[in-house]
Symmetry: C2
């Protein structure tokens, strides 16, 4: 397989750096082709703005959807953006690895999504009608590709448990896994989460590598999270609410998984 690792940590000598190096080596030894987008090392530009398009503005002022769309459609995006889109086209699987900072990904990776996921590339794709609300949530440009998060936290596993004070880890990752990955079509594998990483990292490193190796070895075969596909009958369109007869009376992130 072709595997892209999108990775965000400011320090190469960190645990995250070591885990990323381990993944690259392990995947290569298993015969995969690997590319790494090391966002800090690349000095990735985090903020989406008018400098992302080499075209004249579509309207009187910069529009965060329409100008990137025009640039995408006319091959007038900046080189850093088009290079990342090319890596996504090349990849069969994409791993996003980062430390959980303030319950989400580091800003530099959020900015990777905002800029690489241009309108026309990752959203605003496909027919919009009474029966089909864009190619998204199970369809889209990245359909057929697999993805997996590799996340580290300082907090304890219990703090992220179903009744833990930080909120359940699956719910904290929902805006990423469902909203940013399933949205443009990725099949999203269950995440790999390493908790409480500051303490005794040295002694636990080899067990973390074992866990990671197991998950890397099943990248092609692991069952994805069964998120519901938008345009396959479960949702009323265009309201995009789950139909009454499905998970009746239930609410929240959990209803968007098939049972």
């Amino acid at each position: 397989m072709n595997v892209l690792i999108v990775y965000a940590h400011p320090e190469a000598h960190s645990l995250n750096g070591s885990l990323k190096d381990f993944s690259v080596q392990h995947l290569q030894q298993s015969g995969h082709q690997v590319q790494v987008s090391d966002l800090y090392a690349m000095n990735w530009k985090a903020q989406l703005d008018a400098a992302d398009t080499l075209a004249p503005l579509v309207g009187e002022y910069f529009q965060a959807s329409q100008d990137p769309r025009f640039a995408f459609e006319h091959q007038l995006q900046t080189a850093d953006i088009s290079a990342e889109q090319e890596k996504l086209r090349w990849a069969d699987a994409v791993i996003f690895q980062f430390p959980l900072w303030w319950f989400s990904m580091p800003a530099i990776m959020k900015g990777w999504f905002e800029r690489v996921y241009a309108c026309g590339f990752a959203y605003g794709v496909g027919e919009h009608s009474e029966n089909h609300w864009g190619d998204r949530y199970g369809e889209g440009r990245l359909a057929g590709k697999r993805t997996m998060l590799v996340v580290t936290t300082g907090g304890w596993e219990s703090h992220y448990s179903p009744r833990g004070i930080n909120g359940p880890i699956d719910d904290l990752l929902f805006p990423i896994q469902h909203g940013m990955l399933f949205y443009p079509g990725f099949s999203v594998l269950p995440p790999v989460v390493f908790y409480q990483v500051q303490k005794s990292a040295e002694t636990r490193f080899s067990s973390w590598c074992d866990t990671l190796a197991t998950r890397l070895d099943t990248l092609e075969t692991c069952e994805p999270i069964p998120f519901r596909r938008q345009n396959h009958g479960d949702y009323a369109i265009p309201a995009l609410t789950l139909k009454e007869e499905i998970a009746p009376g239930e609410t929240g992130f959990g209803v968007h998984r098939e049972r």
Copy 2:
């Protein structure tokens, strides 16, 4: 009151820019002191890294918690970070205004939190023991201050409803409102959310301003979201799970609000 508006949008002529200008004017006319951190206009540095500290590294390599903590404690942070912390100390209320991009705040604002919320300033504060797990989730350096999100979305309100495909807006904002705002002590007011803002923005602008004015007029009096305080008996410490007798059998973000 002293009101700080932290604002992120790349285009001054956008709807977000107009709403921000309206808020500044309305607050000033009501007799409040207002400061604005316009992150795009300030060219705010989004990525947390070793350049944020003017001190030598504490260890052999950069550590994302310990080096910012040392810099904070020794007044060796960069000037942009200490200026924002000073604005937070000055403020009685802080408004965070942004467009919802990929179900969260823009990268540039995420980077504001990562860098301004230094270890020792906004986390890693207070006693850590069997009875008290840091001054956080209801305690902390920003206790006594109020905060409110002002958010715009392209999607429809139904898409963000309790059974909407994007997930309920309250759950999408939980990692911000609970994890980033309640965490260092803010009293978090219910958010102001404007949906489907691309279409017919001109004709709906005055009604949005009316809504915003009403909420700005009640900044001092509006009832905060009743998130549960960490160190006041509801949670088992140090597991930090909600005690069994509280909301028995329930899970998810909702259990962290008092009924």
